[in-house]
């Protein structure tokens, strides 16, 4: 494996291997230094906290040193340097590049310029493949399987890159059913839906389907997407995961969220057995270590 641009770069067996490898790494007292004397460039053209730090920690755990930046300020990009030239420069200093960028398709373009592996850490509203491996690993830890489950994706399904990657990754498995819960303005993109090979249904009111769902994946609804603020307020109210919603869920169902959250999950939900988003966040480093393993082939 060289570049990781889309979840489509992972086969079903890649997912299985990554889950097993992550299990192993989580139980290791000392990590194998497979990235010893290697440098990982963290090229975060968009600011990020969680993803940046977890990739950095994963690289350091495997013996690598890291270089990079988070946000354009203070870099030559702020002076107008184009992406291709920044990637060429990083090729001189590093052994692989982890890239986050505000433009859709930036990671693929970077991989065409780069001679060293490129990992997509989120490109615009396009994809965020490593987050999906974390999401799926959390599901695997809780259910021992991905197949046969009923999923509900709720919130902004149009502009959230984690949703695109999640829906695409499910094509590698056999979900029982996927409910796409969103206001019509934020429904999943048609071109993504056309790729899906499993049963799905778009719904507006989660009450219709909440009792069936095993995995509820919540995304933040971004206020700035709405031309009319009153529309946003209306929609925002209907998609808050609160104790009332949790009470309708199955006892063994789980709630996931890529974080950071704003108001879409009430704090009181954090203590319920269904809340798994902090557990999910805790897997970020070992999953990304496993991904580094796959890239270097050890």
């Amino acid at each position: 494996m060289k570049d990781i641009i889309s979840v489509y770069d992972f086969s079903k067996s890649d997912f299985d291997e990554l889950f097993e490898l992550t299990d192993k790494l989580r139980n290791m007292p000392i990590f194998p230094k497979i990235l010893k004397e290697k440098t990982v460039a963290l090229a975060f053209f968009e600011p990020s906290t969680r993803t940046y730090l977890s990739f950095s920690k994963a690289a350091i755990n495997l013996g690598a040193s890291t270089i990079g930046f988070s946000g354009e300020e203070g870099t030559s990009i702020a002076k107008g340097e184009n992406l291709a030239d920044t990637i060429r420069m990083l090729n001189n200093y590093a052994d692989m590049i982890v890239i986050r960028h505000k433009f859709d398709g930036a990671a693929k373009f970077a991989s065409e310029i780069s001679e060293i592996p490129v990992i997509n850490a989120g490109d615009g509203k396009h994809e965020h493949p490593t987050q999906t491996v974390i999401d799926f690993y959390t599901i695997y830890r809780n259910f021992k399987n991905i197949d046969g489950l009923t999923f509900g994706l709720m919130g902004d399904l149009r502009y959230a890159r984690v949703v695109n990657s999640f829906l695409r990754a499910l094509t590698r498995f056999k979900p029982k059913k996927v409910y796409l819960i969103s206001p019509p303005q934020l429904s999943a993109r048609k071109e993504i839906l056309e790729e899906l090979n499993y049963p799905y249904r778009e719904v507006i009111d989660y009450n219709e389907v909440i009792e069936e769902i095993d995995v509820l994946y919540v995304t933040r609804i971004q206020k700035e997407r709405f031309p009319d603020e009153s529309e946003y307020e209306k929609v925002k109210e209907s998609y808050v995961v609160d104790m009332n919603l949790v009470s309708k869920m199955r006892k063994d169902a789980i709630i996931l969220h890529a974080l950071p959250r704003v108001n879409e999950i009430s704090r009181e939900v954090d203590k319920t057995p269904q809340a798994k988003y902090f557990e999910q966040a805790s897997y970020a480093v070992p999953v990304r270590m496993a991904i580094f393993h796959k890239i270097v082939g050890e």
């Binding site: 184009n82 992406l83 291709a84 960028h101 505000k102 433009f103 859709d104 398709g105 930036a106 693929k108 373009f109 310029i113 490109d123 615009g124 509203k125 396009h126 048609k190 071109e191 993504i192």
Partner: protein, 160 residues
């Protein structure tokens, strides 16, 4: 060329080059745009002539240029009915078979303003065919799908 006999010839035969016949009326200039024909070539354009098959059609003759497979396929995007004849020494030596191209690089723009191809000077737009009927092509960078209307709009401009 079904409608042109010696008496009706508007432009003379060419010795070597390409004759593109059965272009939908009004699209000859767009065909030249696709072929990126600029200065230097001797070209004959016949527009809105009678056609038994099509009612009206355009014909393009280009001297000393043989349209290749890739160029022929691009022509299908706006002129699926076109026939392409390669001429050597006044004779048709080859009739190109047209096929909608699997990949179109550099010709079409992505409609997603946040696509990297609209934001980096070096990123060249590239589309892959996902279906022929209806014609749909997908941006290889951001997965935005463009349809036949959009393709026609981009190539024909406002003259469609």
């Amino acid at each position: 060329m079904e409608t042109v006999n010696k008496k009706e010839l508007i432009v003379s035969k060419i010795k070597n080059g390409t004759v593109i016949d059965h272009i939908p009326a009004g699209r000859a200039l767009a065909v030249l745009r696709i072929l990126k024909i600029a200065e230097g070539y001797r070209i004959a354009l016949v527009m809105n002539v009678e056609s038994k098959k099509m009612g009206k059609k355009d014909i393009v003759k280009i001297e000393n240029k043989e349209v290749d497979e890739k160029e022929a396929n691009l022509i299908t995007l706006i002129a699926p009915t076109a026939t392409i004849n390669i001429i050597r020494d006044y004779e048709v030596v080859e009739k190109k078979k047209l096929k909608i191209p699997d990949v179109v690089k550099g010709l079409l723009k992505c409609t997603n303003l946040m696509c990297i191809t609209n934001n980096d000077v070096e990123a060249m737009p590239e589309f892959k065919k996902i279906s022929e009927k209806p014609l749909k092509m997908k941006c290889v960078y951001c997965d935005t799908v463009i349809d036949e209307n959009e393709i026609l709009k981009q190539i024909l401009g406002s003259k469609s």
